[in-house]
């Protein structure tokens, strides 16, 4: 059964899903690239786009929140050392596998079989994690480690929360002005619709513009549904598919599937799950019309990367909990402590894994 609060929400979900897919594909917007390229080559192309996206989302969601969007749309999990460990495992997995939660999806839409295998491995990771949840992760991981109450500065400030992103933006402008590096702001301000042509649309887009667009879409999604996330709805798709294999009763008996993934035993298709499908579809459409779509076979020597990397991402995203999108993108935009802590673990994982992977050639940082 599909559960949605009206046709308008469903239409908006489809538009937002396609929008995200197109933006991710056109901007090659991958967190692994953003962080790994910075560590290995000091390349800030995607990293700046990511920061612009986070600040845009912060501004957008705080305005929406001030205007009356419910605080239940914030995802603010409890936190503790478990977040660092989960983020670290996820970070290692995404560098080893070659893509983050969102990067995997848009590359899957471009026809890379490597990323389909990575995605399947992550899903297998969710299933194994769920089966180990009540006997290991629940008593020995979450209970002793995830002990602090979740907190988000944006959510806690209520109507005045909008002042926070304004202050951050002003500080950034002043800092960049002082450093005479206002180029990226000028780039955005120079952007005008009349300059858009078919050729422009078909070529890759500037990651900063894409970051800005991601922030806008993430705000719309916040209004329509809640916090932007990828591995959560992914896990629910896995759960529903898995229930067709082993039976619904078995899933209902499992506390992780029944009480965590499908909270309260509500086994149905939700809007975020639909959004996820249209995100892949959006990246496929974008890749197809840009001439980037092609079925690309997986290289033999990369099979282990996809399998091990995917499994680590699956486990890491359940342990943290959350992936790069819900913690680093949405979490930092909400100024959520758990988002910050998980992102720190994730960056640490990326840093170590990048150094290990590039040990022969060396890293810039």
């Amino acid at each position: 059964m599909i559960e949605y609060s009206g046709l308008l929400s469903l239409i908006l979900t489809i538009i937002i899903g396609i929008g995200f897919g197109v933006l991710l594909q056109k901007g090659r917007f991958c967190f692994t690239s953003a962080l790994r390229d910075y560590v290995a080559f000091k390349d800030t192309r995607v990293l700046y786009g990511l920061l612009i996206g986070i600040i845009t989302m912060m501004l957008g969601t705080s305005i929406a929140y001030s205007l009356g969007v419910s605080n239940s749309h914030f995802w603010i999990p409890n936190y503790g050392l478990s977040n660092i460990i989960g983020g670290f495992v996820f970070g290692i997995g995404m560098v080893y596998g070659g893509g983050c939660a969102s990067g995997t999806l848009y590359r899957a839409g471009e026809g890379y079989l490597h990323y389909w295998l990575l995605l399947i491995s992550a899903c297998a990771g969710y299933v194994i994690f769920a089966s180990l949840f009540s006997i290991f992760f629940f008593p020995y991981f979450f209970t002793p480690l995830q002990i602090f109450e979740g907190f988000s500065l944006i959510e806690s400030l209520g109507q005045t929360s909008v002042l926070v992103p304004i202050l951050i933006i002003l500080s950034c402008v002043l800092y960049l002005k002082k450093k005479q590096q206002l180029g990226l702001i000028t780039n955005i301000s120079k952007f005008n619709i009349s300059s858009i042509s078919i050729n422009n649309l078909q070529s890759a887009w500037d990651a900063k513009i894409v970051g800005f667009g991601m922030g806008i879409f993430a705000t719309l999604w916040f209004i329509v549904w809640g916090t932007l996330s990828v591995t959560g709805p992914q896990a629910r798709w896995v759960g529903l598919t898995y229930s067709n294999i082993i039976g619904m009763e078995a899933l209902q008996e499992n506390i992780y599937w029944n009480n965590v993934v499908f909270s309260g035993g509500n086994f149905s298709i939700s809007l975020d799950m639909i959004m996820l499908l249209f995100l892949i579809f959006g990246s496929f459409i974008s890749a197809y019309f840009s001439g980037d779509f092609k079925i690309r076979m997986i290289k033999k020597n990369r099979v282990q990367n996809a399998i091990i990397g995917g499994m680590l991402m699956g486990f890491g995203s359940r342990m943290a909990p959350g992936c790069n999108i819900s913690n680093t993108f949405s979490g930092l935009a909400f100024l959520s402590v758990s988002g910050f802590v998980t992102s720190l673990g994730l960056v640490l994982g990326v840093y170590i894994a990048t150094h290990w992977m590039f040990r022969k050639v060396g890293c810039a940082i």
Binding site: N78, P144, I147, V260, G322, S326, V341
Partner: protein
């Protein structure tokens, strides 16, 4: 970035990471050292006419706060599942169980379960199954507490009222047919019905002594005159289920002055506590000798009795004057009487003040659900 710039950047990043990890390790250590000494639960009183919850500090017996519940007025039985950190609220006479978040007291969802369900219900030992009776369909319903789905619906006799459980046997009191139905839970069938002289009402089982206690109504009409009683069935389950070769004998009984309501067996199985609403009394009965050893004056219309997890204090809800009497079980005296909201019904013991950083019997489960995973990320 130059090499010096790189070095500075890395030192700052390492310092920040070290500080955060240090804070988390230190915080975890402090949390676990403090939480071991902390109080583990609060007494949560459900006032179902005013639609509020009164929270009592079970050490100092102070009222901590009173929180509104979003329910319509009526009689509700509250049942806390510590394993899953779930709270069932049964609206007496209705057809649904409300499932609440025990910390926020928000209604999460409703379980349609049967017609005219009775507010009393019990969990099995592992809290995996919940037993509740549906009066209009004459059935005992077994609910899987994880999935909140009905496992089985077993037909008993007319107008079931209350249920008790001992090992894998459930016993249901049927008021209209004046019988007890004995149900083998594994076989999911009634194996015996026993007819009594008068209406059986509430029923409880001992913890380790194979005894079952049933409160029966007083009958005083033209045809019959039967006093209110407490019936004690000793080892009867073994006899009924053929686990011993004893001949079935009449149960022991304690004659009362008026119809009893709430029943509770102390954790050490030594005493049975009984409320007599019409006389505003709590009776303490010696289970061995079946003698009333103490009578305590409660508030008006004492209703249910709930004993704290340590077995030290009994809480009697006085529905007639919106108070709760707290009784020291060992000393057999009333420690204090606290004012509650209107219509206090029953008391549950769990860590409702989760945010205070205290641990509780439900902390483990609360962290998982309260972690707000929602599978969000």
């Amino acid at each position: 970035m130059s090499k010096t710039g790189n070095k500075k950047f890395l030192i700052r990043a390492a310092l920040l990471t070290g500080l955060v990890i240090g804070f988390l390790i230190g915080g975890t250590f402090i949390y676990h050292s403090i939480s071991n000494e902390s109080n583990t639960y609060e007494a949560v009183i459900f006032n179902t006419i005013s639609g509020t919850v009164t929270i009592v500090d079970p050490i100092n017996f102070n009222i901590v706060t009173e929180i509104p519940l979003e329910i319509s007025s009526g009689q509700y039985g509250a049942h806390f599942n510590s394993k899953l950190n779930k709270l069932y609220l049964i609206h007496h006479g209705q057809s649904e169980i409300l499932v609440l978040n025990p910390q926020t007291l928000e209604i999460k969802y409703k379980i349609p379960i049967g017609e005219n369900i009775q507010h009393a219900g019990i969990f099995d030992e592992k809290e995996e199954v919940f037993f509740v009776v549906s009066r209009d369909t004459n059935s005992l319903i077994l609910l899987n507490t994880t999935s909140d789905r009905i496992i089985s619906e077993i037909r008993v006799q007319e107008a079931p009222h209350h249920v008790a459980r001992y090992d894998d046997i459930a016993v249901v009191t049927n008021t209209k047919s004046r019988t007890l139905s004995f149900i083998d839970i594994n076989e999911e069938k009634v194996v015996k019905n026993i007819r009594l002289k008068s209406e059986p009402l509430m029923i409880v089982s001992g913890h380790n002594n194979k005894k079952i206690f049933i409160g029966t109504a007083e009958v005083d009409d033209k045809i019959r005159k039967i006093p209110a009683r407490i019936l004690v069935l000793d080892d009867i389950l073994d006899r009924i289920f053929g686990r011993a070769n004893f001949r079935f004998v009449e149960p022991g009984e304690i004659i009362l002055e008026s119809t009893p309501h709430g029943l509770a067996v102390t954790k050490d199985d030594k005493n049975l506590l009984v409320t007599i609403p019409e006389m505003n009394k709590l009776l303490i009965i010696d289970v061995k000798t079946l003698e009333i050893i103490k009578e305590l004056e409660t508030g008006k219309s004492p209703h249910n009795i709930d004993i704290d997890p340590e077995g030290k204090f009994a809480y009697v809800t006085n529905s007639g004057d919106a108070t709760v009497s707290i009784i020291d079980i060992q000393k057999m005296e009333i420690v204090t009487v606290l004012e509650t909201g209107n219509g206090p019904h029953n008391v549950q013991f769990f860590n409702i003040m989760g945010e205070s950083g205290k641990s509780g019997p439900n902390t483990e489960a609360r962290k998982v659900i309260g972690a707000n995973f929602n599978c969000g990320g």
